[in-house]
């Protein structure tokens, strides 16, 4: 059984986000500048619209399609695949670990992202800032600074009258 084929292709994680954006070509450029993304694949339609592209950010891949591409037109008509601009927001944000969240945050803002929440140390041990990119997708840029025992997080939440149930 050792030679059995892997059911996850090499290089992919179990879960990969698939982003629908308005003007995917510009979005890819933004992700390159802001997050140092590398482009692994791009398929364009005859009019130049990005049918789909695969980018690598850190150790993770993301897929991107243009919201007006033929690739997503059929799903978009049913509401399944629309850009954040078209929806007025996005119901899936991204929490991304980088080595220096302050530096990446500044780069992203310089590249056109908007600050949602400035970078700050959080009780769970991460230093994070939240931003909205120029295409409406939301990113929480994080660096893990210290290990916090779950008891300590619980204590903090108890102080703010919340309960945590860790398993």
């Amino acid at each position: 059984m050792a030679s059995k084929m892997k059911t996850i292709p090499a290089g992919w994680h179990s879960v990969t986000p698939f982003l629908c954006v308005k003007d995917a070509a510009r979005a890819i450029e933004f992700y390159r500048r802001a997050f140092g993304a590398t482009e692994l694949e791009r398929m364009e339609e005859p009019d130049g619209k990005v049918n789909h592209a695969v980018l690598k950010i850190g150790d993770s891949l993301i897929r991107i399609s243009d919201d007006s591409s033929k690739h997503v037109a059929e799903w978009a008509a049913k509401g399944w695949s629309r850009s954040p601009q078209s929806l007025g927001g996005t119901p899936v944000h991204f929490y991304v670990y980088v080595e220096d969240s302050d530096a990446v945050f500044k780069r992203a803002i310089a590249a056109g992202a908007k600050v949602m929440e400035p970078v700050a140390d959080k009780v769970w041990g991460d230093r994070i800032g939240s931003l909205t990119d120029p295409f409406g997708h939301v990113w929480m840029v994080a660096t893990h600074k210290r290990d916090v025992p779950i008891k300590e997080v619980e204590k903090h939440h108890a102080a703010s009258s919340r309960a945590v149930n860790s398993r």
């Binding site: 084929m5 892997k6 059911t7 292709p9 090499a10 290089g11 992919w12 994680h13 179990s14 879960v15 990969t16 986000p17 698939f18 982003l19 629908c20 140092g36 590398t38 692994l40 694949e41 690598k56 950010i57 850190g58 150790d59 993770s60 993301i62 799903w75 399944w80 695949s81 629309r82 954040p84 078209s86 929806l87 927001g89 996005t90 119901p91 899936v92 944000h93 991204f94 929490y95 991304v96 670990y97 980088v98 080595e99 500044k106 780069r107 310089a110 590249a111 949602m116 997708h137 939301v138 660096t143 893990h144 779950i150 009258s161 919340r162 309960a163 945590v164 149930n165 860790s166 398993r167």
Partner: protein, 181 residues
Amino acid sequence: MLYGTAVETSEVSFAEDPRVPEQSEKSARPEEAPAAPRRGIMPFMYVEGAGRAADFYKQVFGATELMREFDPDGTTVNHAQLKIGDTMIMLSDPASQDVRESGSQGVYRTPHQYGGSSVHLYVYVANVDEVFKRAIAAGAKVIDPVEDKEWGDRCGGIEDPFGHVWWVGTAIKDLPPKDSN
């Protein structure tokens, strides 16, 4: 000046946490909850009923629950963290006190509230047909039935009961990694 032309060429470094076991290894901390993976990109999903959504993802995708956090009422789950395969996902309920008190619930909405989603999730599983059936039995809607796709996966699309869209796939052809060239 930090952000001149350097922005275009410099590489961003990403955290590699040596404490995170690879997916094929057993957890090094068997007595505790599994360590949360601290690398890569984790989807943070807004749902009506984070507890019910966590249960759905556990039942359908075999997710492991890492954490569940309650409002003061002790029953409303405001936040949950799960691991599907090697990837962590986080769930949050915009109706929870936690989010309401944050004062910025306008940006925290669910697919049902938006009337759709701008981020789908592609999930690799060992047996797509089984997972697809489980998903439908648990209340998901079919977007695209399971079939062999030209990109080397057997794959189908569903909308889960919370409005999130998943493409469930199993690799059936050995293809070179995307960044192998």
